[in-house]
Subunit: 467 residues, 2 copies
Amino acid sequence: MSVHAFVESLHQFLQKDQISQNETIREQHSVDESYHKGQVTQVVVFPRSTDDTSQILKAASAHAIPVVPFGLGTSLEGHIVPVQECVTIDFSEMNAVLEVSPDDLLVTVQPGVTRSQLNRELKKHGLFFTVDPGADATLGGMAATNASGTTSVRYGIMRDQVRDLEVVLASGEVIHTGSKAAKSSAGLHLNGLFVGSEGILGCITELTLKVYGIPEYEMAGRATFPSVENAVQAVVSLLQSGIPIARVELLDEISLKQLNHHQKTAYPEIPTLFMEFHGNEAGLAQDVEFMKEIVAMYDCDAIEFVTDHAERNRLWEARHNLAYSFIHGYPGRKMMVTDVCVPISELAGAVRYAQEQLVELALIGGVTGHVGDGNFHVILMIDLSNPEEKQRADVYNERLVTYGLSRNGTSTGEHGVGYGKQKYMEEEFGAALGIMQQIKATLDPQCILNPGKLLPIKGAVVNESIV
Amino acid sequence: MSVHAFVESLHQFLQKDQISQNETIREQHSVDESYHKGQVTQVVVFPRSTDDTSQILKAASAHAIPVVPFGLGTSLEGHIVPVQECVTIDFSEMNAVLEVSPDDLLVTVQPGVTRSQLNRELKKHGLFFTVDPGADATLGGMAATNASGTTSVRYGIMRDQVRDLEVVLASGEVIHTGSKAAKSSAGLHLNGLFVGSEGILGCITELTLKVYGIPEYEMAGRATFPSVENAVQAVVSLLQSGIPIARVELLDEISLKQLNHHQKTAYPEIPTLFMEFHGNEAGLAQDVEFMKEIVAMYDCDAIEFVTDHAERNRLWEARHNLAYSFIHGYPGRKMMVTDVCVPISELAGAVRYAQEQLVELALIGGVTGHVGDGNFHVILMIDLSNPEEKQRADVYNERLVTYGLSRNGTSTGEHGVGYGKQKYMEEEFGAALGIMQQIKATLDPQCILNPGKLLPIKGAVVNESIV
């Protein structure tokens, strides 16, 4: 393997400005938003078409050079951090919205299109794209990590939105994983397999995604409870009753305190649900009455609803700013976010355990959760210059994962595995991990596609320098 | 390969009454509800546990005996019809509802549980299972074929309901494909891969499925239109508007005529939508007014709503009896059902093409469609004793598939590939078929799992006797 010869070969089919070995560019493409640090990529390439991508993969295969696909670098588990000498493929120049089909409620985009860019385009047609992971990520990256977020309880996760992917395989061959039909019972389900595969099976060069009509009427709500258990149990009842919850987010005492401090708000500092509902006006008016009855059964302290656009935005802005409230509140510290997801019946216990462990391990952090999915995050603020504290944070993360797996949950609800969570895959999947490894080995026999991510591979290079 | 030695080995771990070589039993297990005919299975076994199934697979691997998993035999493309000497595994004795978890909106069942059996159990908890393919199939079979039906437009298809499968692989090894978490970004998505894999990757021995609270309020409706185009366009507008359509079925002139004739009903014999809505009373009342405006834009002749339980049942009974109306109306003929699914924007054109081709090929049949999904069926009534007519029916099926694929659709929206549609897989998937075949070869190197189904395999035995 010679990076030099590989880079030379790129010049045969790429323009000069599509290849960069500039140190700053290489460094920018070697970090994501996580605390994971690895190597610096050798070269960054900027394909402008599927054909460019195919040629890059062919050359990488021929030279046995590892390939790391890159969207905007918003990943949270070191997905795009190189663990060995590699080429990084930056898809930001493939950022066209290719087709909006309002009748089919579909849109076809290139992988570099961002979520906000797509929604600006869709708004012209009265449509919107539902998945909202917080960060303004690219859709290619969101598909690669199977992203989700606050609206998943109603509209599903990234995988649920994907009708078709164009994928360039390790060999440079181009395939389509699906079709534009709303459903299919033909063949094996490659859409599902490639979504969430974190670049280890191929590079996504086009996506056809499901979109929705903008709801006729939206309403937001905020409800406070004496305990996390009461809040979670209220959500279970709301879900069982079929009330059209579009978002339902839990914030714990510490998170609200941090939010109030940073945003100058005055929310009561007790377990709180931030909620949103999509429907029609009459239906939601009836649901409000029903909801008041339900939450009262769980000793709700207060429930308030807002329908005004500005007020709704204020509420969700507060929720979205939670991470920033912690970051700005603890200068010099780095954020580490857990991502365990458990069956909802286990959520209250898991949150309580997470809170207890914060105290036991003397760590700074708050809990927030996508309650409808059983997925919760602890936002930890870590002093990385203190190895002992970093180690306590690792122990914390591991304890939460072990707890979640013992309750039939998953180590990662939406952030993905990347570099950081590979070590849990064997415990999570047991014998099924062998099947995943066999599929990987079959589709990428040289193991050049994003090595060191998602699946532990026997005999793979392990980067001891990553932290 | 010796079937005799294989059957002998079964006696080492199965009870005598779990093994049958009775001719009638063997014949019953060698046909499904389709017109496809193949060989008669050599032996039928009845596992009572995952361990039984694992031992059977181990023995089948050791003796290189093909294995055909069997639910209730309601498949429509010869999925369970043997194409070579084999053992059939009948899962009807593994029919326990293992756990209902109302808080998690989950249920865990064995594969032999039928849809109606599950719904009887769930009703006690105020819950229901949404997928309704018409037939009272087993849940193992429904997962194996990725079944769907009238309610998919609202609640999704079988694959959307599966949280976890226990699967016995060709080697006898037992894996779990998922967890009980509502979402996960860990590992490769094996749930999706095994759902719809038609027994070619493993045998399903346990399923954890998503369930829903029974809706507070249900309303049915019937709307008539001057043309199929108008009816389809009205549905597109209803979907875009976010109206909570739970079912929307199109019936064409011929289907309504057949229905009226057989059921003594008096429905107008023009393109008609049968609809169902799930929500709350106030919301649906507002939606009714909105819907009236929408359908009027597409020259709706008449729209009627019914909320009374008995009247709603009458409407859906009529729809469910459509196939029987054709079967009883044409004694001596056999039903052949097409299953193309296209993007909704292509549906009206596809239905018109299907109607034209019925005339051109002089075939008896009517069109019905799950309009919200773009999936439509032509129920053809064929005289199988007339080879020339059978050939015209084959040409018809092929023309519809070709039309659907040229419009970015799929050859099968919900019935699956089985034996009958393998020949279309190369046209449908192109290079992606190679990936599917590689995955199959990796997981089942001896090709003993339901051979001759779903994927054309190079070098596989082809059964010339199948028709």
